[in-house]
């Protein structure tokens, strides 16, 4: 170390030395072996920064791998060469920010000088430019920057933050070798907040406490960091106003050797990055601006033209031509309203022509016009035609212009649709609130829903207990809706009664098939289940799907209909209960009336027929009474449609009721009811109950009728047994008698007759009538006849005495309450007839000359009614050939008819029978009367002809 000071002539050398000393280029002089002989401060700094060691001794060793290469280059170079190495790049290992460029020249035979420049900034910027050039978007750029800083700046991790609008920091991208470079989303709170950022200064934090405290988000990584660096990149606009821009944050595990150069490079890099983001932002703004302008132009200048005052189009811009797919030649020179935009409808043309004339008059005319564009589509424009005035105020031209209103129109249309839907909902609500019954609800819903969804068909139906009611719109007549009612299957069986409805194959599948018919011919159908067991179907003939807003509307409508249907169902149930009360009353009346009518007819068969006649058609379309164990099982039958009698009972019926019926006399049968008319409500449980009652009550009446019939038969047989087997035979008189019992259900009466003879040839004739009917009356009649037969020989041929004896008999224990009798004694030798009547109808005599006479004297009260000492008697002498007729009241008495009428009828009948033989007279009389009038009581006729030999 010399301590000499430069003196005299060496002052120039001193100056030269100083020049080289402070030269901002690194200079190193070394020999071929690499030993450094001279080095200036800049070179020291560059090498220290680049390789991290103080350059001393051998330059090749200092430069590491690059030095070895340099040594070879130097050895290989010829000795006379001036420049040996040109811009030799030294990149220290590991690769970092630093890069040196060496130019090596041979100074002398044993000296070489290297000029060292720092090209790290160039390298950095070039790498950066390369990375950013291929970046797509800010986030990608940030990620690339971070990756680059890890390599070039030797950072352990990096992140790029962007100042967000809200004042926080948004992490655009980051790399962190400790977490594998994965991006970590930042909520902004983890970003840099140091006030130094706002001053634009690089902040270096070197203590662990500060690192951990300030960067809690990265705390785990930063805890191992020896340094973090935040590089503000605020760009040109950061100096004033709110802080914008970006921050590059780096952290280091190993000290990379921070120096001014390092920071200079960081700043360069930051400025490049910042410019990139600014450019990116600018181009983004530009792009937006261009798009905006284009939109403005596209949307606003839809239509601009010039029209002469008489309506001829002379200029037009491209937009309407393009829109309509026509050229200017197609329209220029034509009347404006004849151009393709307008000539699709005469009224549109007329309106435009009027507008042109008004504009020519100085008026600005504006309206929403619909123009035709390519593909015969329509476009709604805000159309205006305005006059162009010259400086004297004269209209020279007209300027039509139009702005596309499609969007606005669409919005208005959407708004209109919302209003329309609201009003449809309101209408539906109003209609539904007025709908009391489910049917009303269905009809109202179908009408509104069909309209609301422009449906081709709409159906609303519901199931109630035993039927499905379905309203379809449009209905069978293509306009108004129609109802379909389908009985649902029901089966009831109790106490031997069955209720089956329907029977004609209507089951669940049929019901479903009905819905299938509803959707027939429709391309799309939407079924919405409703409350109250209802279903709503919206159908379109062409395939269509509902938009979301329409689905919302359908939902809303369904809810309305559902609640209305449920309410109506409740209402209907209450009404049905009330109606059921009425029906119950009607059934009770029907039952009482039917039983009364049945009781009025006699005989089992008649009552059975009456029963079925009553049930059809009031209750059933078809009714039969059947006794399966009979040879002919159908005992009675009635059908609403008489022409159908005889066909299968099952055919066509949709509802059946079967109830057991007691036919009396131990006969079991069944009453079968059927409904075949589809319009009639099927049988229900109430009908079944009524049928059971009818069956029970009718059974009682039938049993009673059968009892009467049996008793009648017994009485009849008894009466026949008690009447005489034969009449008296006498050679001078001919006798004949006839007994006719009343109808089968009428009780046998107590009419009787008898005849006797006395010694001397006298003939006795008696006809009597015991009041009352049945076996008791018959028995009493038998006793009375026996008494007469016993008294006659004892008392002798005296009619009054015989009746007196009968009075006595009647008072005794074998008597009866009331009886009439007529007794006569005839003497054939003289022709004298003596007679006496106890309340009996007078005998009739027919003379051979045809004259009739009533033997109405010798009348006394009926037997045993009044105390009579001696009964009167009368007598008459009969001519030869005369006819005497005795009879009981059954022959002449009619209900509601005076007795005289009956007697006259008898008198007339007798006269007409003169020619008839006596044997037949009684029969003919009875037949004659029975034929003209039904028998109401027993009839007895006893006739005698006086035919002396």
């Amino acid at each position: 170390m010399t301590k000499e000071r430069p003196q005299g002539v060496s002052a120039e050398l001193e100056g030269l030395l100083q020049f080289l000393y402070v030269c901002p280029v690194g200079l190193v002089e070394f020999d071929d072996a690499g030993t450094i002989h001279r080095i200036n401060p800049e070179a020291v700094n560059l090498l220290i920064a680049a390789v991290g060691v103080t350059p001393f001794g051998n330059i090749f060793d200092v430069l590491g791998a690059s030095g070895a290469e340099l040594r070879e280059l130097l050895t290989a170079a010829p000795l006379d060469a001036g420049r040996i190495v040109n811009e030799y790049l030294v990149r220290p290992e590991p690769a970092g920010l630093r890069a040196l460029s060496l130019n090596v020249v041979r100074v002398s035979s044993d000296r070489v000088m290297a000029m060292i420049t720092d090209v790290s900034a160039m390298q950095l910027r070039s790498s950066l430019a390369e990375a950013l050039a291929s970046a797509s978007g800010a986030n990608d750029a940030a990620a690339r920057v971070c990756a680059l800083t890890n390599v070039l700046l030797g950072a352990g991790g990096a992140a790029v933050y962007e100042r967000s609008d809200g004042g926080g920091w948004l992490c655009l991208g980051q790399s962190d070798e400790l977490v594998g470079g994965g991006a970590e989303a930042s909520d902004g709170s983890g970003g840099p907040s140091h006030e130094a950022f706002q001053r634009g200064a690089i902040v270096t934090v070197r203590t662990r406490a500060e690192v951990v405290g300030r960067y809690s988000k990265w705390a785990a990584h930063h805890a191992e960091a020896c340094a973090t660096v935040a590089v503000p990149m605020f760009g040109s606009q950061s100096s004033e106003g709110p802080m914008t821009g970006h921050v590059l944050e780096l952290w280091f595990r190993d000290d990379p050797g921070f120096d001014r150069q390092y920071f200079n490079n960081l700043e360069l890099m930051a400025s490049d990055i910042s410019r990139f983001f600014e450019r990116a932002r600018s181009s983004e703004l530009l792009r937006e601006s261009e798009q905006f302008t284009r939109r403005v132009l596209d949307n606003l200048a839809t239509f601009v033209g010039v029209v002469t005052t008489d309506g001829v189009l002379t200029h037009v811009n491209q937009a309407p031509l393009t829109a309509a797919a026509i050229t200017a030649d197609d329209v220029l020179g034509r009347k404006f309203w004849d151009c393709p935009w307008w000539n699709y409808a005469p009224d549109v043309q007329a309106k435009l022509e009027r507008a042109v004339h008004r504009a020519a008059g100085g008026e600005i005319v504006r309206y929403d016009a619909t123009i035709r564009v390519a593909g015969d589509k329509r476009l709604v424009v805000d159309f205006q035609i305005a006059p162009l005035l010259d400086d004297r105020g004269v209209v020279t031209h007209l300027i039509p212009s139009g702005f596309d209103l499609t969007e606005r129109t669409a919005a208005e249309s959407e708004r209109d649709q919302v209003h329309q839907r609201l009003s449809q909902l309101q209408r539906l609500g109003a209609l539904l609130s007025a709908a009391a019954f489910p049917a009303d609800v269905c009809a109202a819903a179908a009408v509104v829903v069909k309209e609301a969804f422009a449906a081709d068909r709409c159906a609303v139906g519901f199931e109630s207990g035993d039927q499905l009611k379905l309203f379809t719109l449009p209905g069978a007549d293509e306009q108004r809706g129609s109802w379909t009612t389908i009985p649902l299957p029901i089966q009831v069986a109790m106490d031997g009664c069955t209720l089956a409805t329907p029977a004609a194959g209507i089951d669940r599948a049929t019901v479903n098939a009905l819905w299938g018919v509803v959707v027939e011919g429709m391309a799309s159908s939407i079924f919405v289940p409703l409350g109250g067991d209802g279903t709503l179907a919206v159908m379109h003939a062409s395939s269509s799907t509902l938009r979301e807003s329409e689905r919302d509307l359908l939902d809303a409508m369904s809810h309305l209909v559902s609640s209305a249907l449920e309410r109506a169902r409740l209402h209907e149930a209450a009404e049905v209960d009330r109606a059921e009360d009425t029906r119950a009353l009607a059934r009770a009346e029907f039952l009482a009336d039917a039983m009364a009518r049945i009781a009025m007819v006699d005989g089992v068969a008649a009552r059975l027929q009456m029963l079925v006649d009553l049930l059809v058609p009031s209750m059933a379309d078809y009714a039969t009474i059947e006794a399966p164990d009979q040879a002919n099982p159908v005992l009675a039958l009635a059908h609403r449609d008489r022409t159908l009698i005889g066909r299968s009972a099952q055919l066509g019926a949709h509802s059946h009721i079967t109830v057991p019926l007691d036919l009396g006399g131990g006969m079991k049968g069944a009453l079968l009811l059927e409904l075949s008319d589809v319009d009639r409500r099927p049988f229900d449980a109430h009908d079944l109950a009524l049928a059971r009652h009818v069956g029970d009550r009718a059974g009682i009446l039938l049993a009673r009728a059968r009892l009467y019939e049996e008793e009648h038969n017994i009485s009849l047989r008894l009466q026949r047994a008690l009447l005489p087997d034969q009449l008296v035979r006498h050679r001078d008189v001919v006798l004949t008698a006839r007994h006719e019992a009343a109808g089968p259900m009428l009780e046998v009466g107590g009419d009787w007759y008898d005849s006797f003879t006395w010694p001397g040839g006298l003939v006795g004739l008696v006809v009597g009538d015991v009041a009352g009917h049945g076996i008791e009356a018959t028995a009493a009649m038998g006793r009375l006849r026996s008494a007469v037969a016993a008294f006659a020989p004892l008392i002798g041929p005296d009619p009054a005495a015989l009746l007196d004896a009968l009075d006595l008999f009647m008072r005794g224990p074998n008597g009866t309450r009331y009886a009439t009798a007529c007794c006569a004694v005839f003497d054939p030798s003289s022709g004298e007839l003596r007679y006496s009547s106890a309340g009996h109808l007078p005998m009739l005599v027919l003379s051979p000359n045809g004259r009739t006479s009533w033997l109405d004297d010798a009348q006394a009260p009926p037997l045993c009614q009044l105390p009579i000492d001696h009964r009167p008697s009368g007598s008459v002498v009969l001519e030869r050939g005369a006819l005497l007729v005795q009879y009981s009241d059954g022959l002449v008495e009619r209900r509601g008819e005076a007795l005289d009428v009956g007697l006259s009828r008898l008198e007339e009948a007798i006269r007409r029978l003169t020619s008839v033989g006596l044997d037949d007279i009684a029969n003919r009389l009875v037949d004659h009367f029975v034929a003209s009038h039904p028998i109401e009581d027993d009839i007895v006729v006893l006739a005698m002809r006086y035919d002396p030999t």
Partner: protein, 122 residues
């Protein structure tokens, strides 16, 4: 005459209380700077080593114009970053561009207006 060596533990403490006269007489080189790096005093030993007279040096920034080879993170940055500093580093001075190995001791105490760079040939 200060009896204190280059390696003395209390060197910084001594220097803080020493006069320029005392410092000038030290047996090693010593540069006294303010905290911005401008030279306040340049002792005789260092002037002789660098071949620079004190009056040419005082008032100039040491790191930028007097000893630019120290303007790096090994030396200058340490003074910049650390208010309290007392560190040794082996270095190479480029006195007259001849690489000269030296040992440096960088000293500063927080609150003091001065900082010191001591230089010893090695």
């Amino acid at each position: 005459m200060l009896e204190v060596g280059f390696d003395a533990a209390n060197l910084l403490e001594v220097l803080e209380g020493a006069s320029f006269q005392d410092i000038d007489e030290l047996a090693f080189g010593l540069v006294v700077m303010d905290r911005a790096g401008d030279v306040v005093f340049y002792n005789a030993d260092e002037a002789a080593r660098a071949g620079l007279s004190a009056d040419r040096v005082i008032g100039r920034n040491f790191f930028e114009s007097v000893g630019p080879c120290t303007n790096n993170y090994l030396v200058a940055q340490r003074f910049l970053d650390e208010p309290d500093l007392d560190e040794f580093v082996d270095f190479v001075f480029t006195l007259r561009m001849a690489p000269t190995p030296v040992r440096l001791r960088m000293m500063a105490s927080a609150g003091s207006p001065r900082q010191y760079l001591a230089v010893l040939d090695r």
